[in-house]
Point group: C2
Chain length 338, copies 2
DNA sequence: CTGTTAGCGCCTTCAC
DNA sequence: GTGAAGGCGCTAACAG
């Protein structure tokens, strides 16, 4: 059995031989066909087709000193909004012929560091960091690797960011509720270390008295887990206050959906007995009745994040984009009960 | 300005020079330190640390003829169950120092083909195909690239698969409902081309008469969109039948949550007026009250999918694993109303 | 328009 | 235990 070990894949040289040309000609047929004669081109293409030749991307990468990829560091894959964002980023990456590396961090710093090292090892073009706590790990990324954060502060770093206009969003929600006659508006804050959750809470605290002239009540602002499950806890907490609110604003849509389910389960009518609003913009597919919420345009956000890494005009300097949000009136808000 | 262009990253040769050794020694210090003397090792490691040397993964890949990656082709990223699976696969990949490529297919065949080509170009170890319609595209993947499908039939292909035991699951649900006294049990089927949806519908149709001796009613089996939004449509459809069911079994949890929300919104009490069951096992975090459902163990499924690609013992031949499921009794089911 | 040559950065024989 | 040489598959110079 002196049989040669069969090669798994053919290389450019084999194809060249089969087509009776040189390897560089094969390369040109693939990468700049206009610089080859029609005859040779067709001949080479025929061989490529016949043997299903697929150029080895790893060799290309080595030569180009880039894996042509960008990474997304995502901390909470159970948050449907981040998945929407991820999907859009995936679309953009595909459109630009870039590979998107989805790195599930799960609030594990060791894992985060390992992914960072790996990104360096493959010379990723850049990293998009979605949410999650602030860390110092990123200080060591080389300047050639672009860094962009979404809803995350990295003050000490020369790092671009994209953020939704949380203040504007909360303003829109509070304004709308006040116009419906609500005066007792609670805010169910997230208790995690998310930047967005904090910003929204602060916006509420700032606006409620200063702009809307409503008394600020300690007990109306309370931290909860960001999950659907704790919706009932939220409703129970607020409804058992001596003077319960007529509307609950939630730090995000996930919580709002939980509150909606909890309220309905307790027999409260929404919005007759209680108005509920969220924040994110998941409403179309994720709840019924449709949530009144503030929509952060995930397509626009994804585009900005992406451009901050790939667009030469934008990567030059640090950008801090704040994205406008819009009010989406759904069926979970109504005039306050007399 | 005769300044040399500064190199972005140091190579193994630069490190070797700085440590006064040869490149091969640096390589050994990194890859098989036991074959180097302690002195040299420490010296080299010091230089590596000092300059934050990160070996170029692309060169390694080229040499090893493998990108050390596996790909997941996912068709519906809005399905929370698939995200659970994705997250677990991501964890496993990290554990095994493999890169996980998340390919969002979105039912686009052209995109699917391009991702397939890319996977070949980087010599991916294998592809995990989650759900989605059956296609012929996969016929051309080379035999060295392992292929595993989840909840998807690829009869014509020599391809391993992992499937939940849908029949068992539907049996558990129907059995439980019957024990609660239900005789009028509807099945809200998905209308998409998902294998799981079909299998569950067939299981219902098969068991309802044959095992439970209940009359099969055409109008009790109806196809709907797999979204939360259409929950109200489902409830409306069934409740306006001349003889409405007392329980609705849904093709998956997403639909069941929609039905739950729709029912509550219409003022129906769950489970007093209507029992609702799902299928998947999202219940812990995704709905309130907790859904009665059938749980497919996503950790076990992820493990099997993964092993079918990476475990030499399993990749040898084609496996068709059927995973047992368990009944999770929640709060959306109760005895039938007298 | 096409072929020859050299090298991307690393790893692994093979000598020493 | 360590160094020198060659090659993984491709592309971009440079000649012809």
């Amino acid at each position: 059995m002196n049989q040669k070990k069969q090669k798994e894949y053919l290389g450019i040289r084999e194809i060249a031989k089969l087509a009776h040309v040189s390897p560089s000609t094969v390369s040109r047929v693939i990468n700049s066909p206009e610089r080859t004669s029609v005859e040779v081109r067709e001949q080479v293409n025929a061989v490529i087709q016949k043997y299903h030749y697929v150029p080895n991307q790893m060799a290309k990468n080595l030569f180009s000193k880039s894996s042509n990829s960008i990474a997304v560091f995502i901390h909470d894959m159970t948050n449907a909004y981040f998945i929407l964002l991820l999907k859009e980023l995936s679309r953009l990456a595909f459109e630009h012929k870039l590979t998107l590396l989805t790195c599930n961090i799960d609030n594990n710093h060791i894992q985060e560091q390992e992914y960072l090292d790996y990104c360096q090892a493959i010379r990723t073009k850049g990293i998009i960091v979605v949410d999650g706590p602030l860390t110092e790990l990123y200080k060591r990324v080389p300047p050639s690797m672009k860094l962009v954060s979404f809803d995350r502060t990295m003050d000490s770093l020369k790092c671009s960011s994209v953020t939704a206009n949380h203040l504007q969003g909360i303003d829109l929600l509070l304004g709308y509720l006040v116009r419906l006659g609500h005066r007792k508006i609670a805010f169910a804050a997230g208790n995690n270390n998310s930047f967005a959750a904090k910003a929204r809470r602060q916006a509420y605290q700032q606006l409620i008295g200063w702009k809307y002239n409503l008394p600020y009540r300690e007990e109306y602002v309370h931290g909860f887990e960001c999950s659907i499950r704790c919706g009932l806890d939220i409703v129970n907490y607020y409804m058992s206050l001596p003077d319960p609110p007529t509307a609950i604003a939630c730090a995000n849509d996930t919580m709002a959906i939980g509150v909606l389910m909890g309220a309905q389960h307790l027999g409260l009518r929404v919005p007759e007995d209680l108005s509920i609003v969220g924040f994110d913009g998941l409403n179309e597919n994720f709840s019924f009745p449709r949530l009144t919420t503030v929509k952060q345009d995930y397509k626009q956000i994804a585009r900005l994040l992406f451009d901050n890494i790939t667009d030469p005009k934008r990567t030059e300097e640090v950008h801090h984009d704040v994205v406008d949000v819009t009010l989406c009136i759904g069926q979970t808000t109504g005039p306050v009960k007399k």
